[in-house]
Symmetry: C2
Subunit: 433 residues, 2 copies
Amino acid sequence: VERQHQAALSQRLAQFHPADIAFVLESLAPEPRAAAWALVRSDQRGAVLLEASDTVRRALVLGMAPEDISAVVHTLDSDDIADLVSSLPEELRHAVVERLDRTDQAEVRSVLSFPDGSVGAIMDLDFIAVREDTTLEAVQRLLRRKTALPVHTNELIVVDRSNGLRGVLDLQRLLLDEPDRRVAEVMNPQPTYFYTDDGVRDAITAFEKYDLISCPVVNLHRQVVGRLTVDVVVDEIKERAQAESLRQVGLSEADEDLFAPLAASARRRWPWLVLNLVTAFIASRVIGAFEEVIAALVALAALMPIVASIGGNTGNQAVALVIRGLALGQLGPLQLRKILQREIGINLLNGVVWGLVLGVVTWLLYDSVTLAAVIAAALTLNMVLAATVGVLAPVLLQRLGRDPAMGSSIVLTATTDSMGFLIFLGLAAAFLS
Amino acid sequence: VERQHQAALSQRLAQFHPADIAFVLESLAPEPRAAAWALVRSDQRGAVLLEASDTVRRALVLGMAPEDISAVVHTLDSDDIADLVSSLPEELRHAVVERLDRTDQAEVRSVLSFPDGSVGAIMDLDFIAVREDTTLEAVQRLLRRKTALPVHTNELIVVDRSNGLRGVLDLQRLLLDEPDRRVAEVMNPQPTYFYTDDGVRDAITAFEKYDLISCPVVNLHRQVVGRLTVDVVVDEIKERAQAESLRQVGLSEADEDLFAPLAASARRRWPWLVLNLVTAFIASRVIGAFEEVIAALVALAALMPIVASIGGNTGNQAVALVIRGLALGQLGPLQLRKILQREIGINLLNGVVWGLVLGVVTWLLYDSVTLAAVIAAALTLNMVLAATVGVLAPVLLQRLGRDPAMGSSIVLTATTDSMGFLIFLGLAAAFLS
């Protein structure tokens, strides 16, 4: 009965879209996940693995026997196999590739050889090429011999004798134009295309800008080697947005796995925690240097976090604007100077206005005009400093080849905290003692 | 000569993609922007306006005479007109719509009537419908009468007599299958489709999951009224990601306009600034309540920001994970409890480990075991509290219909700062005096 029940379940599952099965597997704990995975039919497993997150995919593959993996992999295209094995540990990857037939092996190895973040690494090797002197009728005959076109084929790629890119032929031309016309007459001779070593980021920009569905990918000799399709680009956009929002707080996709061992997850956060402890400790030492001033006027201790905190918020606004500009490629030297001027101007203005308000509140509370003036000045100065660092930190980090999304907040907080305390307590030391 | 020069420039511009012209216009200051805009040929202006950001679009349209606007608008489809005028001030919008012919007016009004964030508001009204009892040959004849298909037509929509959705016919079926077969035999009878009042967020999820290119959109009677295409979905994904990263720091797309008047931009940041000032002020009053304790041991003033700052960082990690989970629709009650348990566990563990380290450093620095124990305990407690608030704040804000991306950081900082100071100074008051 148990077995009958399972067979029925398995059949139900087979009607689900692979993406939905992956979604269910991702939200299950490891044990029920393994049980559910056993029910997924082997002809669907490849597609499900491709849709699953890296962490879950790795867990599922690690639990499979090598011959099961081979069986699954044989249902996939070589670029999908490459995508799949690229997230596996080295030795497992090797074991899988070894079991492929020779053509697949060569193709998988070639895709794997492209670095992460390059168009070559995410391209689709499956495309239909035609020659420009063919008639549309001949192209139609060619197509009719197939039962299906590669996914997202909205255009055929037009190549010359040596496979060099000549243009693209929109499928609708085959339907709308006279059959006796030649490909060269109706093709688009200047299509957008990418080199295998172009960055995925540039490809994303082009897809967004020019509303592309698919694009030829060429090697250094301008020979067509594959296609880039919009579904892969959409996945990349999504993954990049996710990765960035996590990176900003020192996390990665691995931290999303709700079933990873707790101790390991805790340790993964140590580098970020230590960095933040170090910057907080430096800020603490800045305060420590003014202990005598604080001892003489304890109100300073209560007021100083306001200056530091508003600085942090202000700086983060500048960081967000600059990171956006960098991502869009909109920040040339001119724009950068403009944004720096504006952020300084805006925060000078707001610093003066709200510094005055804070000054008045301080005066009412502590009955000291000097203290009020000190906090007003400190707030303004720290906001202007925060704006400056907020604009420059992401730019400098990017020039140094570091990740602006991840590093900027650390650099910024370190500055706005330490300098906030220094400015406020320094001014207090100068004018209040 | 000047005029010849301008004509030459205008011709050069005409060869650019509208998206590229929009990009150039966006990076120009208002005056050169207006000059450049004058050079854009009127048959390209509509497409350029559609590609431009809201701010720039509004500035350009506001500078045009109503009859120029009408001329531009006449080159566009009615859904594009709706998209365009939806970003205009009310009276200008009205003036434009009035000048359209009656069919366009009706269509534009119908698109404008769908609320922001609904599929109806971003759908494409242009699609080709066929009947299921037609042969593929007849469909081909129908298509051959057209010079082009609507953009991103990868499939025709199959409808019944009353325009009800029956299925979709992939274009490649026309190329691959025998011409005497009927649409009903080769169509996909169960396509993904959306209702006009479905949320754009759900549509984005479906496009990502099922790798869609286009999709029928139906009204409440399941009659086909339009299509949703992947280029619009890609734009929405991009805009949403951008909007979120700005919202997190209290900014909006309007803050990206580098040429808006400085004073207006400064004032736009006031609500956020005031909110942050208020929470910082509350934290300051918490410290103020412990002035006597601090006066007795000034070291407390130097150490207390460490506790608050690490709490903030920790809580922001939890917030990022939860907001991601909410966006993916992955957080049911089970997952939520799991994520809460995990964040508390991870931060309890890390709080104990790094609290001890911080305790040792404090002991070495201030030679007080009690002070060391107090800061170790305070760090641990505040990290656990931050984890709890970081998980719960976004969820509660969403249940209350507020924006978790924007509100969470305020709620979190208010808690981790005030409570951080309260826990640390409270423990100090209890054990050190």
